[in-house]
């Protein structure tokens, strides 16, 4: 696995972690049919934390973060996001989703809308913002991800890295308090990976709560304040990055790290 060095070094001291709980997962279990994909997950994420989730393929990383904004339903246990419990009550689901932004591996931009429209669609229709306001904020975030000049192009005309940055901006426009990233860079070429990671580092510096599934260990070392290692649907080990990388406890983690680094 290649490890990219970022030009823009994260200043970890800037990133404060509060005591407030952002996400609380208790004893959560999930099955696909009869396949037990997540087992007894217990996880507390504090406001401002930046968590990297790693683990072999199929270990349930994606499923875990997809449960957090209810793209998947869990069957047992509780997930409480910002004080709202995720149940089958749609009101709660809507509330949680407006607090949580998500960035996908394949960007999933809407190809028939311009970049700007991509970014303003949800604010206008979900948050009921006036169009003008929504557009202004969208431009603000597009500047933040450094592509304001592309605002009127269509996604198909952008490179992968640019598209992923748009996807990040699109999520930010909903002003989420928590951002979920599911392998945001794994579909990108190396140079583009860098662009996107840098954007994420900036976000981290602003204190955004982040959960990120990634194989970019460089990013994990530099930005995360906790690394969670999953295997076979369970959290096997979690620790601060230094400890995690230099001194892994479990056998599985060791094996995994030996392969990936």
């Amino acid at each position: 696995m290649s490890s990219i060095t970022l030009d823009h070094h994260a200043d970890r001291s800037k990133m404060a972690v509060s005591d407030e709980v952002a996400i609380e997962i208790r004893n959560m279990n999930k099955w696909y049919g009869s396949f037990h994909v997540l087992r007894d997950i217990d996880l507390t994420v504090y406001q401002g934390e930046r968590i990297v989730i790693a683990g072999p393929s199929g270990s349930g990383k994606s499923t875990l973060i997809r449960c957090i904004n209810r793209l998947e339903e869990h069957q047992e246990g509780q997930i409480i996001v910002d004080g709202t419990e995720l149940t089958s009550d749609l009101k709660n689901v809507d509330k949680v989703r407006s607090e949580v932004g998500m960035v996908f591996q394949h960007f999933n931009l809407f190809p028939h809308l311009t970049i700007l429209e991509n970014c303003t669609l949800a604010p206008i229709w979900v948050r009921k913002e006036p169009k003008k306001e929504a557009e202004e904020r969208a431009m603000h975030f597009l500047e933040k991800v450094k592509i304001p000049e592309q605002a009127h192009k269509y996604p198909g005309m952008l490179s992968g890295g640019q598209q992923q940055r748009v996807a990040i901006a699109r999520s930010l426009c909903m002003m989420p308090r928590i951002m979920l990233f599911d392998e945001p860079t794994s579909a990108l070429d190396p140079e583009m990976i860098k662009e996107v990671l840098e954007t994420m580092v900036e976000l981290a510096e602003e204190g955004m709560t982040m959960l990120c599934v990634t194989h970019e260990m460089g990013f994990a070392k530099e930005v995360a304040n906790r690394v969670i290692f999953m295997d076979a649907g369970q959290i096997v080990e979690q620790n601060e990055p230094e400890e995690f990388f230099n001194n892994p406890q479990s056998e599985r983690t060791k094996l995994f790290l030996s392969q990936i680094l």
Partner: protein
């Protein structure tokens, strides 16, 4: 599984009907069910009311009554004293007959046109495109009428064959092409082995089936030899002999003779008559659907990338072998599913028989029976049930085929 997810389990609120995923789907379905039931109730109620005011009822008893009308094209025994049900069956068989014939010829037309359209002969391929475009873009009803009208208007009437200097003559003194249909010699036996003509023909078919079996065996033997030695023995003359000799002998023993149609009274008598309506419908459906099939065949063959032919060529396979071993097996997977839906279309389009007076099921059950009995609802329901059955059977068969040829992918 015990659910710990939902602490509010006990407190059911009305808003949960719309906001809770568990109830919402039930709510929506309940609403849909109510709306559906209302709609059905409304229609049914109107129907009942209308029938009551008209003093009618729904009953299929009329099927047992005698039909009272004659049908000129029939595959089973039928006369005007037979029941309406039997008339419907005669119609169904006629539908199946014309559909079956049209499926075969449409496939032939389609395959020829599709392959020729890919020919590297510019003129021929253009000509085939013209055929395809012309037939695809003009309604099939117009084709049926054109062909039928032209046939009745241009072909001679039987009376044209009469007289000392007739305006029309029979082809080879055996075939008569008239505007009522084509008359061809009909085979019969002078020394039949069974009294019933039907059994004799069954015997002939049995012998043919035997030949089929034998040639199959020989093909398998040839393959075996090829696997052993690498060289496939030449068998085509054996095959030919196996097809011709036994059946030829049997026919000779039974004294096969041909009844030549001859003009007697108003019409030609003797031999086999293929009615004009049947021919027109058959031909129109074939040539119309053939244009669609041609497109399929072309698309199917083109879907096989040039790389496949090149690879086969590079391995030293000759073009004909390449076609048989590489292109066709792959193309067929692409061609057959749409082909089957074209067959279904032929069956459905054969209902236009009514425009040319061919007695298919739409013309008997949905036509004369309906007129005579006034049982519109019953007749139309039966008619739809028939077509639905056919199309369900065909789509079941198609799913079966699709499953069996699905390419294994990674």
């Amino acid at each position: 599984m015990t659910s710990m997810t939902d602490p509010h389990q006990g407190q059911f609120r009305l808003s949960m009907l719309f906001n809770d995923t568990r109830y919402r789907s039930l709510t929506y379905q309940a609403i849909a069910a109510i709306l559906l039931a209302l709609a059905i109730w409304y229609l049914a109620n109107n129907l009942v009311q209308n029938l009551r005011t008209a003093g009618l009822n729904i009953s299929f008893d009329f099927l047992r009554d005698s039909a009272g009308y004659d049908i000129n094209q029939r595959l089973i025994e039928y006369d005007s004293q037979s029941t309406h049900a039997r008339a419907a069956i005669v119609g169904i068989l006629n539908t199946l007959l014309v559909s079956f014939l049209a499926c075969i010829t449409a496939t032939i037309f389609g395959v020829i046109a599709g392959v020729l359209r890919l020919s590297n002969n510019w003129l021929v391929s253009k000509l085939m495109s013209v055929y395809v475009e012309i037939f695809r873009n003009i309604p099939v009803l117009i084709w049926i009428i054109i062909i039928f009208t032209i046939m009745t208007a241009v072909m001679p009437a039987p009376r044209a064959f009469r007289g000392d200097t007739p305006e029309a003559t029979m082809l080879l003194d055996m075939f008569a092409f008239t505007n009522r249909g084509v008359y061809i010699p009909g085979p019969y036996f002078t020394a039949p082995l069974f009294a019933s003509a039907f059994l004799n023909w069954v015997l002939v078919l049995a012998v043919l089936a035997g030949s089929l079996f034998a040639t199959r065996r020989m093909a398998r033997w040839a393959t075996g030899v090829q696997e052993q030695t690498g060289v496939r023995p030449t068998t085509w003359y054996f095959t030919l002999a196996m097809w011709i000799v036994p059946v030829g002998l049997l026919l000779m023993v039974m004294g096969l003779a041909w009844e030549i149609p001859a003009l007697k009274g108003f019409n030609f008598k003797g031999g086999i008559k293929i009615g004009g309506a049947l021919i027109a419908l058959w031909f129109a459906l074939s040539i119309y659907t053939g244009a669609f099939i041609a497109e399929n065949v072309r698309a199917g063959i083109q879907a096989i990338s040039k790389g496949q032919t090149e690879a086969a060529g590079a391995l030293g396979l000759r073009p004909r072998r390449t076609m048989n071993l590489v292109v066709l097996p792959q193309a067929l997977r692409v061609i057959i599913p749409p082909l089957i839906s074209h067959y279904l279309n032929i069956t459905k389009n054969s209902s236009l028989a009514i425009a040319v007076g061919y007695a298919d099921v739409t013309a008997t059950l949905g036509g004369i029976t309906l007129n005579q009995t006034g049982r519109a609802i019953e007749c139309v329901l039966l008619l739809m049930a028939f077509y639905l059955t056919i199309s369900l059977l065909i789509s079941v068969g198609m799913n079966f085929y699709n499953k069996s040829v699905k390419l294994e992918e990674r």
